[in-house]
Subunit: 417 residues, 2 copies
């Protein structure tokens, strides 16, 4: 991919009215654009990040036997009345009557819809467990959207749902999800704190939140200054459930909630009457779990935790590209030939490469490279090329080193894998 | 992937209240499920088809320099007032007021939003052309949803938009799209008829529709019984613009519209004031085109044109899987070992393979295989295995042939590529 054929409207200045660094960098590096308060477009570079994260989620969900589907946003209110959540969630639900007079809403979540979907199919214990998930747009009538895509009216979530014969089955799937979430966030380059949490409007007994300590967070966790270990309090609880750390002082820190998993039990399956026949031919109620990741919010959180004064510093697995080639003089035919050769060679090696082929000053191109934060930058300049070399810069460490042109691909594969 | 770990709720009977064969087969083969009239969930098998089609679209869009982004569904009505389409489209738009009192709608299309987005960036002729597209959910308050996902309230579209300096640039991008659309539909296994059409609510001068003659179609085309060539009439026009065929009789046929491309000109860029400075430093208005594919409808159309009494007959490139392995006795350890070996071998060869590992009768498994319509089925039975062979069935031709186990992968690669 080449910059001139892409669409990356970078901005030098800090946009007016933005508090969070992640919000500023999302806008400045041309990842997203605001349409109206709380509503954002993902520009091509931002969509690439989203797709990389979706790829990680798909791999980890698939590995634990969860299957992807896609549920509708339009939902009949009648379904929500049956679980009583037309009341619980009415403050955030976008509702309207359609031309046929049906009371409808835009899904802020999908427990009701998926429970109804599984009800139409599952009859016997032989068909269980079923674990399904989707990565999909959700809607909330948010009175005070904040921090860009952290708290928005339209946002992307991964939501998974497990259906089991009994509590034991639920606990097994819950543990699989618990671990899969750790892997997902670790691959996204985040250090998380897992907190036993209040189930709130979701219902059920046990639930855990995945938190990332960060200044802009609207939740709180307790962190130990000695061992680095953190346990948590949050909205619902007052720290009472949190075991005191033996080694040091616990201090409250703000944190962003990026994931939340729930052992729902039979709340939804009872309300919507989802039952099956067990081995003995007896009718039983399906036992459910649900598992969410705030995908848009996850992008903001990654940026919030990975940036410096010059811009974003993407973790490798979620970077829009792995490597950026930056030829200093695009008017120089010889230099561009070498840049193209390098580009093609890296593509052949399976490296996700990008070239800044714009006819702009070196200063502008260097600044933009730092701003959009691709992990490795290869600079091609006249003097280096005369020696048959290119310069590689590691965005995170700032380390710069010269490598023979013929060995660039090899060197990059070494640092990337 | 294995059937037992997937989620494919096949149905033997024709569902009540379904007219179109495609609608029946979408439900019966566990591709989609209805939530409420005009609103459907994509089940895992249906989502695989959707992803294959998205893959084809992405490749062909990328090949002509179009870049993918993702625009919001929530849109401020204020933007629609500026182009006057708050009136033109008011019958199909889902509108509501949010908690802040903003008049909002769910995007039935995205000309206004993308024009506003590009306006924030483009200043100079050097930044043009820009061609952007998305594959995204659209909403229409459809009074009479029909034929399943053919005419629905929530559906998936690919919509692309081109921004050029002048009419000449627009025509060039229009031609690129025109050809890319032919490739996309051909790869989906469809024979299309391209019809010069009325621009309707979109505005602009020149537009073309991509039609597939089919019984359930709500549009019409003229087809020549001699040469097979078709030209079209449709809603807006009365056949007057259609050149008479020299070779045979023209007959009216029903057709489904699966794509529509428009030379919009300056309708939206003028209304929203999107201008740039040309080479001479003079202010000019950007010239636009827009290009749509009804992705959900495309899936229904493919099924409508590719089925027989037993079920769906997927074209190779859009089939949920390319090959299905069907071991007759899953209780037979030896047979399952050979099935697993075959499965792993095909995966290694890059074949998209699926196994029906259910403990069901051969009859049930054969029927379901025909119903879900995977292009090639490999049956493993005791007698054949004793001879070191498996049976391959071509779903489309019905041809069955025996192949040595060691040569199955090779044979399949031959027929698939």
């Amino acid at each position: 991919m080449r910059w001139s054929q892409f669409y990356i409207p970078t901005i030098k200045e800090i946009p007016i009215g933005t508090e969070a660094v992640s919000h500023q960098l999302l806008l400045r590096s041309g990842l997203v654009q605001m349409l109206t308060s709380g509503v954002y477009s993902y520009l091509p570079l931002g969509l690439r990040v989203l797709r990389k994260i979706e790829g990680i989620i798909n791999e980890e969900m698939n590995a634990i036997g969860a299957r992807e589907l896609l549920l509708p946003s339009l939902q009949p209110m009648e379904l929500w009345k049956r679980t009583g959540r037309d009341e619980t969630l009415k403050d955030v639900m976008i509702q309207f009557k359609d031309k046929k007079g049906r009371a409808m809403c835009l899904g802020p979540t999908h427990e009701e819809v998926i429970t109804d979907l599984v009800k139409n199919h599952v009859r016997s214990y032989k068909q269980l467990p079923v674990v399904l998930y989707q990565i999909q747009t959700k809607f909330r009538d948010e009175m005070r959207p904040r921090f860009g895509i952290v708290r928005a009216c339209e946002f992307i979530m991964k939501d998974a749902y497990s259906f089991d014969q009994d509590e034991q089955g639920l606990r097994k799937n819950y543990e699989l999800m618990y671990t899969a979430y750790q892997k997902i966030f670790s691959r996204c380059g985040l250090k998380i704190v897992i907190v036993e949490a209040d189930s709130g409007a979701m219902g059920g007994d046990i639930s855990h939140e995945y938190m990332v300590p960060a200044e802009i967070g609207e939740d709180e966790v307790l962190c130990c200054d000695a061992c680095g270990h953190a346990c948590g309090i949050n909205k619902g609880k007052d720290g009472s459930g949190c075991p005191a750390c033996q080694k040091g002082t616990l201090t409250k820190k703000s944190a962003i909630e990026i994931g939340h998993i729930f052992q729902l039990g039979t709340k939804y399956s009872k309300a919507l009457d989802v039952s099956f026949l067990d081995e003995k031919g007896q009718k039983k109620t399906v036992v459910m779990g649900c598992y969410g990741i705030g995908v848009s919010r996850l992008i903001a959180t990654i940026i919030e935790k990975n940036n410096d004064a010059a811009g974003i510093v993407w973790p490798k697995e979620v970077a829009p590209f792995e490597v950026e080639i930056l030829p200093l003089q695009v008017g120089d035919g010889d230099m561009m030939r070498q840049a193209d050769e390098l580009y093609d060679g890296l593509v052949r090696h399976g490296v996700d490469v990008f070239m800044d082929d714009r006819d702009e000053s070196p200063g502008k191109k260097f600044n933009d490279a730092d701003l959009i934060g691709i992990p490795y930058r290869i600079t091609l300049g006249k003097r280096m090329l005369a020696e048959g070399k290119a310069e590689i810069k590691d965005r995170r460490s700032g380390t710069v080193f010269a490598v023979e042109l013929a060995r660039v691909a090899e060197k990059l594969k070494e640092v990337l894998r």
